[in-house]
């Protein structure tokens, strides 16, 4: 049997159990001992509230209104729409391209006035 190096037993201070308990009780409980044992409730993720400004209705006849092709919502009746389709077919372009170019021309001319 190989002999092991003797273990040095260090002299302990005579700390009593009461002292340990008392000193331990001084721990900052607010730092989260209780919080750690209980899993914190999942914080409800609040959806970021984005306040949307009500979209301003822009009349196509309003010359001074700010124009944005992306935001503009134009409604055509069936007759107008059929005419637009016909015109687009005649020119060999897409309906949307025709509408875009028409609006562009219209606003350009309006500005000139």
């Amino acid at each position: 049997m190989t002999l092991k190096k003797p273990r040095v037993v260090t002299q302990k201070s005579n700390v009593t159990e009461d002292q340990i308990k008392e000193f331990g009780d001084l721990a900052d409980k607010s730092a989260g001992e209780a919080a750690e044992t209980k899993k914190p409730a999942k914080a409800a993720v609040k959806k970021k509230e984005i306040k949307k400004e009500p979209r301003r209705k822009v009349s196509i006849d309003d010359k001074n209104a700010a124009r944005s092709y992306k935001a503009m919502n134009i409604k055509f009746n069936k007759f107008e729409y059929e005419n637009i389709i016909k015109a687009a077919d005649e020119r060999g372009i897409k309906v949307m391209d025709l509408i875009r170019s028409s609006i562009r021309t219209y606003t350009h001319n309006e500005k000139k006035k």
């Binding site: 260090t10 201070s13 159990e17 002292q19 340990i20």
Partner: protein
Amino acid sequence: MIILIGSQKGGCGKSTLAINIAALLAGWGKDVMLVDADRQATASAWVQEREELTDVPVINSVQKYDNIAKSLQDLDKRYEFVVVDAAGRDSRELRTAMLVAHKMIVPFRPSQADLNTLPKMQEMIVAAQDMNSDLEVFGLLTMAPTNPIVSESDEAEELMSEFYTEIPMIDVKVCDRKVYRDSMADGKGVTEMSNHKATKEIKLVAARIGLGE
């Protein structure tokens, strides 16, 4: 011998230091028990990672919370070295461990936030030493910038020696090196990797607190 790594500040490298000291001692053939008293369980995760390795000495680990004094005293009888990693706050684990530990390392970064926690830490140390006169305390600067132009570490050392006399500083700095993070992920200590500077740092820390082969 019970070696406690404790501080009231989180993120100052307590777990890193605890595992590296444990790895160094295990490398020297010592009988080491790593006590993880931090509910974040960083040290335990490291031990789990280490268990998969075959080329490094085994380190046993146990997670202990609340009043850990009795457990530490019991483990001290069974192991040559008990390294305790306490949570980074004024916890019952930290306080009860302070009353039975032989050596305590207080790591802190050279930052104002870390320095601000030291007055309360010093008060706690004085109170603990009143009851546990065996407790030897060492202050250790961790995560120090490697850039010699940055003088934060020197400033922190100066402040320590001036105001916190109950936490005598070790004349070694543990620098902020990538190898410490890498070794954590690999389940190794820096002394088991091939970074001479980090190895030297840990060996010097051990030497300064009176640990030797």
